[in-house]
Subunit: 356 residues, 2 copies
């Protein structure tokens, strides 16, 4: 005969079995499933086939391939998404072809002021730095902010002091000098004074056209980024940039803004943006895509497409983004002429592209 | 007999009538409907009835009333939400009781580094400044960034240079000194060294308790903000803060981050947050509420409640927010002991409160 004590024991045993089953399921979820995705970008803008030499195109593709390979090896070895995006972005920062780290554009004052952010979708931890001038790899400083401080965002000298304390490599500001970017600043300054004149004159169709041509120059673009899904179904995103050529007044774009240029959440997706930052901040671009998926029943592809092709275009902005979701779907939409981009998946698919 | 030309004319007339009707509807929508709402806050935190003197409580309520009245008069006179939130926040910035403008807390280095942001829901234009030290009313600088520049965010010296050029009032840094905040910094530094000792010792229940007591101190709080709905159904939000007492390394919180501490969108709501900024950035707090309304079928009240009471608490954060939606509903949730808050509506309802 069952006493109430027996019943209790039975219930308790059943309860323990349930808990144990729950733990096993959790463990199974944690085990690497062999599936991973890495997507990277080196900026969107007026990148036209006709203005690209074969040698330059090859150099860009080689750089993208290098970053992709280093990040992919990390994922293939069962390491985490957050490591893959950090290392892939470091490779792009070190390459003077891209507007981030070495190769960052110059501000109006002739400085290189860089921004970077990183986010771990598994715990919504995030780190970012803005307006830093002496950190060789700004993405490593963003990661240090995320992992070694109570803070999410640090700017200027303070961020540099912190990065140095955390062992990030510090370089003289001259490290960031490249002739191409310096020449770009001089050109932008000349164009800017032309623009000022055009702005003040009575607008004629010809002048309007000239103005538009100037504004369409790629002074506002250039970013690098990476998003990844690892074998543990964790997502991560990282973005790094030198910002806008000839920028003034301590301008900060969307790259270091969590939710705008950079966002990752295991429940939805990981996103890194590149484009005219002001528009991305106003749209809170990355979080808008994540929330469309979480609450609006959108797929990653549809949400990203709507934000870039409709919403961004509607308010006059341009650029692109890379995104991967928790199921391994990825997308690389842009509304500019081109975007340096590449993707690799565990099932052997590789995409490397520049133009539309 | 109808020729195809007649048909075309008919269609065209019908089309014109439709366009004209559409324009009339738009005009009607633009006409002041007499309905407005203004909600303000002066920060959330460990604000306990038992540690508040009647005189201090009266002073806080008087300050809130003043800001509410000035903002309300703007709305009642048919001016825009963006003006009401700017002026209400200026009043709170000028009052040393609140951690923004005069009365801003001190950084570890003994400086006052302030952040502010503003957003206009009618066109999604936004402006923000971070780490500024000489602008009397940082919210006016944020507004200048929104209205007088192509940018959204400016930081540090660059932001100050721009603000000065735009005619914002510049003051010597000594203007921001208040004895109470200076004493607060000394106390925070002493507590911080105690915390460092406690951190390094073996954790005993007593030490854990002491640590928790220290962490619970309100060093991380203090913000002012305003949200408004005007008679033209436009929404706006503004936030201003001195940040965290004893902050280091150029730390920036959620206040100047569009989508995190500040957001406005005529399609949904206007929000200004106050609390432990790092958690608000990671949750992209304000945009999460707007998107829950836009895509998740949430009401403003439910979306705000879920974010503050569930999501914020779940990751260990605390604080509150104020929000108003396009239909004039408003809410002021917080998960701390208190939040300085007040609201006024065109139908004569006034709420001014501090404690739970």
């Amino acid at each position: 005969m069952f006493t109430s004590k027996h019943s209790l024991t039975l219930y308790f045993t059943f309860f323990l079995a349930l808990v144990s089953y729950g733990q096993q399921v959790q463990e199974m979820l944690k085990k690497p499933n062999g599936k991973y995705v890495l997507v990277i970008h080196g900026g969107a803008g007026t990148i036209l086939k006709e203005s690209m030499t074969p040698a330059k195109e090859a150099a860009y593709k080689e750089a993208l391939t290098k970053a992709l390979t280093i990040g992919k090896n990390i994922l293939a070895n069962g390491r985490k998404a957050i490591d893959a995006v950090t290392e892939a972005v470091k490779v792009l920062e070190d390459n003077p072809l891209f507007n981030a780290g070495k190769g960052a554009v110059f501000t109006n004052e002739g400085k290189n002021e860089m921004d970077a952010a990183i986010m771990d979708g598994s715990n919504l931890m995030a780190g970012s730095v803005a307006s830093v001038t002496t950190i060789k790899n700004p993405i490593t400083a963003a990661r240090a902010v995320m992992e070694k401080s109570e803070h999410v965002m640090m700017v200027g000298k303070g961020a540099e002091t912190f990065a140095k304390l955390q062992g990030c490599t510090i370089v003289p500001t001259s490290y960031f000098y490249t002739k191409e970017r310096w020449d770009g600043l001089q050109k932008a300054k000349a164009d800017d004074s032309t623009k000022a004149t055009l702005d003040h004159d009575a607008p004629t169709p010809k002048k309007q056209h000239a103005l538009k041509q100037l504004i369409n120059k790629d002074y506002k673009y250039g970013t690098v980024g990476a998003v990844a899904l690892d074998m543990y179904q964790h997502l991560a995103a990282a973005t790094s940039t030198g910002g806008m050529t000839n920028k003034k007044y301590g301008r900060v774009g969307d790259a270091p803004i969590i939710g705008a240029g950079t966002y990752a959440n295991d429940a939805t997706c990981a996103i890194s943006c590149t484009g005219w930052g002001e528009y991305y901040i106003r749209l809170v671009m990355a979080k808008s895509i994540s929330d469309r998926m979480e609450f609006g029943g959108y797929t990653l592809i549809n949400a990203s497409k709507e934000m870039i092709m409709d919403k961004l275009s509607a308010i006059g902005g341009d650029g692109g983004l890379i995104a991967v979701d928790k199921d391994g779907n990825y997308t690389m939409p842009f509304n500019t002429a081109g975007m340096y981009r590449a993707a690799i998946t565990s099932d052997g698919k590789i995409e490397i592209a520049i133009f539309k």
